[in-house]
């Protein structure tokens, strides 16, 4: 095995990005994933376990892990932390009552050593609902400005209409890719 083939193997690996989709239950994680993949979204049940989808985006192969957000299975999130390039944190923007819980869970997650260096995209989902908070309100509610350990961005979106999902994906893939380019 020559040096070149090793390098090639590394390069192949770098074209692949591993993303973790997390958030409280009812945030719309699975709906976002299915919508991105062009699958029907009207009869999705709450996730008991996890889903994996492989997507192509801007020449990158994305391995996206969507893990259920119910309280009783949040402790299993950590089984998916290894080798994660980016975290997509999905928020139910209409859930005004749990915004504090949501913030707590997010900040606890960011303490995780294995996620150090991962990019963070916050999707302020369900903007199609009349009672949805704006991305700026979510930003305040989640105290995003306190995050200094990760690259982050927030994107208002709607998984039901598909609005702005790709804008968010462009950001996180671009942000991760820019780190990978450094190695080239």
């Amino acid at each position: 095995m020559g040096l070149l083939s090793i390098l090639r193997k590394i390069r192949q690996r770098e074209k692949e990005i591993r993303l973790l989709v997390l958030g409280l239950d009812n945030a719309g994680k699975t709906t976002i994933l299915k919508r991105l993949n062009g699958e029907p979204i009207d009869k999705l049940s709450p996730t008991l376990g996890f889903n994996i989808e492989t997507l192509e985006h801007n020449g990158y192969k994305l391995h996206v892990f969507d893990v259920g957000g119910q309280k009783s299975i949040r402790s299993y999130w950590r089984n998916y932390f290894e080798q994660t390039d980016g975290v997509i944190w999905v928020v139910d923007s209409a859930d005004r009552m749990r915004i504090g819980d949501c913030s707590k869970e997010l900040h606890a997650l960011l303490q995780e050593e294995r996620l150090a260096g991962a990019s963070l995209l916050v999707f302020a989902n369900k903007q199609d609902l009349p009672g949805a908070l704006t991305d700026q309100e979510i930003r305040k509610g989640l105290q995003l400005d306190e995050i200094v350990t990760h690259h982050w961005a927030i994107q208002a979106c709607s998984a039901v209409t598909g609005e702005n999902l790709l804008v968010g994906m462009d950001w996180i893939v671009g942000d991760i890719a820019s780190r990978i380019y450094l190695l080239d």
């Binding site: 009812n26 209409a94 009349p130 208002a156």
Partner: protein, 373 residues
């Protein structure tokens, strides 16, 4: 014995032949691949050379993309072929691919400088972003957030000017009969066709959210006790927390109930309903005789023929046997006659309210009696 030995010899010989054949096969396959690769490479380099500046830049860009795709396909094939290709071949071929890409890039920058410019400018922007992020964190954050948020605010700006216009919040009430229509007539500011509902800390209340004038997008519920909530079909999901001794009548796409007990849920749901940290939850089909129900289902795109109210997932119970935390409401306990006041979506005049509140206690007692039976 001898026969066995002969047989052994024969078999080993066969194996040897097979191995040699395999070796030949891989050699042949490698040679074939090399040949095919060269043909495609010739075609691609030819096409690159044919790119000329007589055509418009947009056509050039398109052509370049096409060629790049072909190169990528070739590279893919090469990776697949690495199983049988000798390492020398692998190296040579990947070098050739690289030179093709280089050549294409050179041609592209020569023939379509505009493409190069936009590409460069984008790169500069991101790297700028990058350095900003690394130096002044908060500043770079605000730039990303503002750039991303501007795209959406145009479409939903009006909805966020005043959340009161779009959300009905019923909080901290006791012994009250609350209807969506009386809420609507008391606060004339609501003009939307769809609203969200938040119910919290209601005790001994009847809440009637059935309305033909308005549709509900999502419902969030927390801390209800001894209460009855009746809702028409809901556009997205229903989330219930910390409730006790309540009756819910609701149709929706997704239904979740957490940390609650002694509940009866008349439910229409098109996915699996879930319970978590709950006890004594009983489910029944959504059989409430609301006027114009079909039309409501249609408007919020809920399939009236698909109801999974009995396919409950208990997140605290991962065994084969049925969960002890929920059951179906026995047939004889399913309410056949609904109190008229509960289904009435007529508007209430404010001076009627006292009457209604008295009435509600009756209804609540009646319904709660059903639960406790």
């Amino acid at each position: 014995m001898i026969l066995g030995y002969v047989n052994y010899l024969f078999v080993t010989r066969l194996e040897k032949e097979e191995k040699e054949k395999l070796k030949l096969d891989t050699k042949e396959a490698a040679a074939q691949f090399w040949q095919k690769f060269q043909v495609e490479r010739g075609a691609i380099t030819n096409d690159i050379a044919l790119l000329s500046n007589t055509t418009s830049t947009s056509v050039i860009t398109k052509e370049c993309d096409k060629i790049l795709e072909r190169i990528n396909n070739l590279e893919k094939k090469l990776t697949e072929a690495t199983i049988y290709l000798p390492s020398y071949d692998q190296r040579q071929l990947s070098l050739q691919i690289k030179s093709m890409i280089d050549e294409l890039n050179i041609r592209r920058t020569l023939l379509a400088p505009k493409q190069k410019f936009s590409f460069k400018s984008r790169k500069v922007a991101t790297s700028n972003d990058e350095s900003k992020k690394l130096t002044t964190k908060s500043e770079s954050k605000s730039t990303t957030t503002t750039t991303t948020s501007t795209t959406i605010s145009s479409s939903s700006l009006d909805s966020h000017n005043d959340p009161n216009l779009r959300v009905i919040t019923l909080h901290n009430r006791q012994k009250a009969f609350l209807t969506v229509n009386s809420y609507l007539s008391s606060s004339s500011s609501i003009s939307a066709k769809m609203i969200d509902v938040q119910l919290s800390d209601l005790t001994h209340c009847v809440v009637n959210l059935v309305s033909k004038r308005i549709f509900i997008g999502a419902i969030h519920v927390k801390g209800l006790k001894n209460s009855v909530v009746v809702v028409g079909p809901v556009g997205s999901s229903v989330l219930i927390h910390d409730c006790e001794r309540c009756v819910f009548v609701v149709g929706c796409h997704q239904f979740r109930i957490h940390t609650s007990k002694q509940m009866i849920i008349y439910l229409h749901v098109t996915s699996h309903p879930i319970i978590e940290d709950c006890h004594d939850i009983q489910f029944a089909p959504y059989t409430i005789p609301i006027d114009g129900l079909d039309k409501m289902f249609e408007v919020i795109k809920l399939d009236p023929n698909l109801n999974h109210y009995d396919k409950v997932d208990d997140f605290n119970w991962h065994r084969q046997q049925a969960s002890p935390n929920w059951k179906l409401l026995p047939e004889e306990k399913i309410l056949k006659e609904w109190p008229n006041k509960l289904l009435d979506d007529d508007e209430m005049s404010p001076d009627n309210n006292n009457n209604n509140e008295n009435l509600s206690e009756e209804i609540i007692d009646h319904l709660l009696a059903e639960i406790l039976k």
